[in-house]
Symmetry: C2
Subunit: 149 residues, 2 copies
DNA sequence: CTCATATCAGCTTAACTGAAATTG
DNA sequence: CCAATTTCAGTTGAGCTGATATGA
């Protein structure tokens, strides 16, 4: 009897690239919904965060940081410029370079996003202890940040 | 003296959603380059992996698993069907449902991708100990997989 | 009637390659 | 001449909303 068990699939462990992509997708939806009031997408927001962290940065530097081609960075930056969230000034020692920096409006948008972050994180990480959160943060940071040039 | 220090930016810790997105971007580029011989994108590959894991699944189930709308799932599935990587049969107990399953070609593509995975993982995780890899895998799995319905 | 499923149509954003202009 | 930076043009894929049809 019970010839047809519940097909106990071995559930082989997912590879690393798939796991990261999947986790990112799990987070992405919630974030975009929560940040609908902020006029930027999650990719654009990461650009703002990185400019803020660096103080100022060229498009080429940002592209390297985010593992994108410079052309893709141009398309990410355009709406940020159009909305006045970032500004630029030519680097006088290397006049081809455009140093990008946040405007007051840009800093405002970033702050507006940061206000919402704790609530989102709490939702996502509800099942994780403080220790686990710290560990995950540390490991992901090492994964994300390119080795110092 | 030294009125203008090197602006020692506090480098405030990145929020969780940003960290995950960033880590995913760090991995994505390498993976897509390594898998250029496999005729699917990383998103489509995740669909194949999940169908394989489940044995068979409907588009609606997959959409829930991946936190996407059913419409988006349709667009992900179309190229997989067009290339004969997946097949479908109507569920007789619920004739609106289409059970999706891998074809031999689909299993082949998956295997072809899996052959390359260890090399990619080794690159990405070069700086991580076995312990750290296990921890990261465990934590990401909990983050990605939706709670059982 | 309602709910779930599947899919079509149309739109936007984010990624790519290729090509061109500018600066050092 | 060459390398790095920026940007334009064109293409594709991946996400969304809205609408429609069908089956339980």
């Amino acid at each position: 009897m019970n010839d047809k068990p519940v097909t106990p699939r071995p559930r082989r462990e997912l590879s690393f690239p798939h796991l990261i992509k999947w986790a990112e997708m799990a987070v992405r939806g919630r974030v975009e919904r929560a940040l609908r009031t902020v006029p930027v997408t999650s990719g654009q927001l990461l650009v703002l965060v990185l400019i803020d962290e660096q103080g100022e940065a060229t498009a080429a530097e940002l592209a390297r940081l985010m593992y994108l081609t410079p052309q893709t960075m141009t398309t990410l930056l355009r709406p940020l410029r159009d909305q006045g969230l970032i500004d630029q000034r030519t680097d006088e020692r290397h006049r081809r370079r455009l140093q990008l920096l946040l405007t007051d409006v840009g800093r405002g948008a970033l702050e507006q996003a940061r206000v919402q972050t704790p609530k989102i994180e709490a939702e996502i990480l509800a099942d994780f202890t403080d220790d686990e959160r710290a560990t995950l943060t540390r490991l992901l940071t090492r994964l994300a940040r390119p080795p110092d040039r």
